[in-house]
Amino acid sequence: MENKNVPNNPEEKKPQTPPKKPAAKPAAKRPKLPDVKDDPFPMDSWLIYGIAIIGAFIFGVATYKELNPEYKKYQVEFKKLIEKKFGPEAAAKVPMGVQQIWIEDLNNRVDRCITCHMGYEWKGLEGEDVPEVFRTHPDLDGLIAKHPFKDYGCTTCHGGQGYATNMKEAHVIQKGKKVRWLEPLLGKEKAKEYAFEDWQKMPLMEINCNTCHRFNDSLPGTPYINLAKKLWNEKGCIACHKLFGEGGDIGPDLTYEGSKSHEMFDIHAPYYVIKDGKPVPSGRTIAEEMRRRGLPLSVFSWHLLHFEEPKSITPTSTMPNFGFNEKEKRALTMLMMSWKKVNLPAKYIPKAGPISTSEKTSPEEGAADTSATVEDTTSQAKELTYDEALAKRGEEIFDKKGCTACHDLDSRKVGPPLRDVALKRDPEWLKHMIMKPDSMILHDPIAQKLLEEYSVPMTNQNVSEEEAKAIIEFLKKAASEKK
């Protein structure tokens, strides 16, 4: 502190400050004591004033920061725009301060994007003359009617940090100081960074579409994801890679590939080039290769390089080079990034099967494989035989495993009534559905149709094969007791 001016030896400075009132003289009796009015630290008062002024100034700066958040200028500008377009009455209705969409049902999601992007719901701000930040959200009657703002917010599709109220942190712009948020805004800037031809359409957002819609074979408006899913089937990826427990063991399990931590991708390992069919070190690391190509250092870039030539990243990899073109590489990378582990509330789980733009399924899709199968498939086995003891055990397991939470024998609860299920489906199907409902939903048309009807997927309750057999006996018994 500024104490240089305060001498510690008082004898030197005593004469500088004579007491104000020398008249009062109680100190005369005990000469050792100085006068009460004799200021031993004459600088202190000035220091207090000085530091108080500095403090007031600092507090002033803090107050300025508090009262002038970045979003304020957007709100003032928006108000002016509304006044110009719709008159002062409409402008008076423009709210001020932090605005947010809070969705309690969707894991308490909070999106404050609308603090600046105030025109998102205003009709009449669609034009090119309106600055992009204030423009009406496109496709309000189509896509948004299916995904209303109040139920989905903004970041569910667009990415970015919903809580933030300044652009750098909301859009997660990593230039300069790092923003500690894992999901950036999947907008035009990001698409441009990854050299998408159609970056203006913000293609990276398809990642977020597919995070919920991963069980739909195709989806309108997601050309990249649709392409990737087609490639997945064509190239037979499942032969080597597992999804939900189904598939080969040669490659890694990809069920939740998109949730893999970015810390697990070693971008400082050597990058290999293929010479005479053999990978040889290029002398560059993966990170250097990304920089050389102008790609951001990211997991996304890692996947791009990996799809181009798996051996360039992992020289011992047995994954073949499929010769994917630029578009296919990006599509597959997006598919990988979209396979995230998310905690979706039941009502947000999309319908399985193909989704078309019109509400109804097109006739040829509908009739072909499902409608007939849902009702009665194996009605041939009317005569049911069952083992009494095993059926009794099955009933216990049925209770203990919590099946009764969703299923009743005679009435529809969350799931279908099960009284005559043993008549309708063969035991093999039942066993699969009880033990691996998740993979059945993926692959079995009946299970998919049922999900569409009941909209809540059956959960995997870790039922062993032996237990499943007992439950099936119990279901057979229930069916035979049908009145």
């Binding site: 502190m1 104490n3 305060v6 510690n8 030896n9 008082p10 009062a24 109680p26 100190a27 050792k32 004591l33 100085p34 009460v36 004799d38 031993p40 630290f41 202190d44 008062s45 220091l47 207090i48 530091i51 108080a52 500095i54 403090g55 600092i58 507090f59 700066v61 803090a62 920061k65 508090e66 932090v98 308490n108 404050r112 990415g159 809580y163 933030a164 109220t165 300044n166 990593q174 500690r180 948020w181 894992l182 999901e183 950036p184 990001k190 990276l204 990642i207 931590s261 970015h262 810390e263 971008i267 400082h268 990170a287 951001p296 250092l297 990211s298 997991v299 996304f300 870039s301 990034m337």
Partner: protein, 417 residues
């Protein structure tokens, strides 16, 4: 009587007089005032000088007050639940009025307090202020011991507060801290279990740390601080006063006491306390205005940042643990025991009993770097350099997998997209 005079009379009755007319009034202003009554009516000028005490004790106390006030406000805004904690901090940062400022004040105040308390301990050592000099009543080594406990409590307060934001930084720093405790032989797993409230960090840990942070530890600090202050009175003032006494007793030593004569506590000491408090407050406000507190991604037990580091004041323990873990084909040294228990334990014990063992002459009491204490000052300084050096090394030179890197050559970690 004018209104101003009336108000001043009320003020005088309640608080203290700014401007005592005579010695009696100056004395009453101290003894009749609840907040000031533990001060003596007069203090020596050297006890109040900047250069003797550096006022580090007062600064520590003012920081504690700032932390209590901001902390109480933060308690209205923070929810100690693993689902909500992180998001209430996000709200502080982005939507609560003055939330960012409060949080920054609290965070920087806490770091400052750890530093101030440690520096206070260093000052006391270098000035031989735990010595009793020629006073018969003084038992200053007790206050040194209390001070050591207060230092540990300050570290614990900071450590428990570190977890509360429940972000990656907090979660993994606390995990490392718990791991250090776990590496204690025999009792380690039990200590970990008590700290974490289970086998891994989760809601039970958060609520334990929260309760300790907002109630248990501040209360302990408050009680011990009061005792710490009361002891100064019973020890007949700061150790600087001993020089004053010695000068009168031992003329042969020819101690120059020209800067020692007593001055009145009101208004001169009180004014200086106000000055120091104000300066501390302004400094913390300055930091809070211009430096933002870190908040990383939400805590994720499945993703360990590499490297995960303990809070800075425990980094030296983490480093010690790493370098004392030695595995050879012939023998293995348990770093948890050697680096986590033996070395810091011995250092803490040595520092605490030092005050009881220091046999330097009474002249070495209350003066900076007395020549009779040169050797022990060097030993103490080596200890401080050891701790600070390890902290700096671990903070700036330890990269992924706890390998040594230059601070500017840290390998980058990829973004996701």
């Amino acid at each position: 009587m004018s209104l101003k005079e009336r108000l001043y009379k009320v003020w005088r009755a309640l608080v203290w007089t700014f401007d005592p007319a005579d010695r009696a009034e100056a004395g009453k202003a101290i003894t009749r005032n609840f907040w000031l009554h533990w001060f003596p009516p007069r203090m020596t000028k050297r006890s109040l000088s900047w250069s003797y005490s550096l006022w580090l004790g007062t600064i520590s106390w003012v920081l504690f007050v700032i932390l209590t006030v901001t902390g109480v406000v933060l308690m209205f805004l923070y929810i100690p639940s693993v689902e909500r904690a992180y998001w209430t901090i996000k709200d502080l940062e982005y939507s609560v009025s003055w939330g960012w400022f409060l949080r920054n004040m609290h965070r920087w105040g806490a770091h400052m307090m750890v530093a101030a308390v440690f520096l206070h301990m260093m000052r006391v050592f270098y000035t031989g202020a735990y010595k009793n000099g020629v006073s018969h009543a003084a038992r200053r080594e007790i206050n040194w011991t209390v001070g050591m406990i207060l230092l540990v409590l300050t570290l614990l307060l900071s450590y428990t507060g570190y977890l509360l934001p429940w972000d990656q930084l907090a979660y993994w720093a606390i995990t490392i801290g718990v791991k250090i405790a776990e590496s204690v032989p025999i009792l380690g797993p039990q200590i970990k279990f008590v700290m974490a409230g289970g086998t891994e960090l989760g809601q039970p840990t958060l609520i334990r740390f929260y309760a300790l942070h907002v109630m248990g530890l501040p209360l302990a600090v408050l009680i011990l601080f009061s005792y710490h202050m009361w002891r100064i009175r019973k020890d007949e003032g700061l150790a600087a006063v001993e020089q004053f006494r010695l000068a009168k007793k031992r003329k042969d030593l020819q101690i120059d006491t020209s800067g020692e004569e007593p001055v009145y506590s009101t208004p001169w000491a009180v004014r200086r306390i106000v000055l120091v408090s104000l300066a501390t407050l302004v400094w913390v406000m300055f930091l809070a205005t211009f430096l933002d507190s870190p908040l990383e991604e939400p805590a994720d037990p499945s993703w360990t940042p590499n490297p995960a580091k303990a809070p800075w004041y425990f980094l030296w323990l983490q480093e010690l643990l790493a370098i004392t873990t030695i595995r050879t084909p012939w023998f293995t040294i348990n770093g948890g025991f050697v680096g986590g228990v033996v070395i810091p334990g011995l250092m803490g014990l040595a520092a605490t009993i030092w005050a009881f063992l220091d046999k330097s002459p009474p002249e070495a009491t209350g003066v900076w770097f007395h020549k009779s204490r040169t050797v022990q000052n060097i030993v103490f300084t080596l200890g401080v350099i050891f701790i600070v050096g390890l902290i700096i090394f671990a903070m700036y030179f330890r990269g992924p997998n706890w390998k040594v890197y230059w601070p500017w050559a840290w390998p980058e970690i990829p973004e996701i997209i």
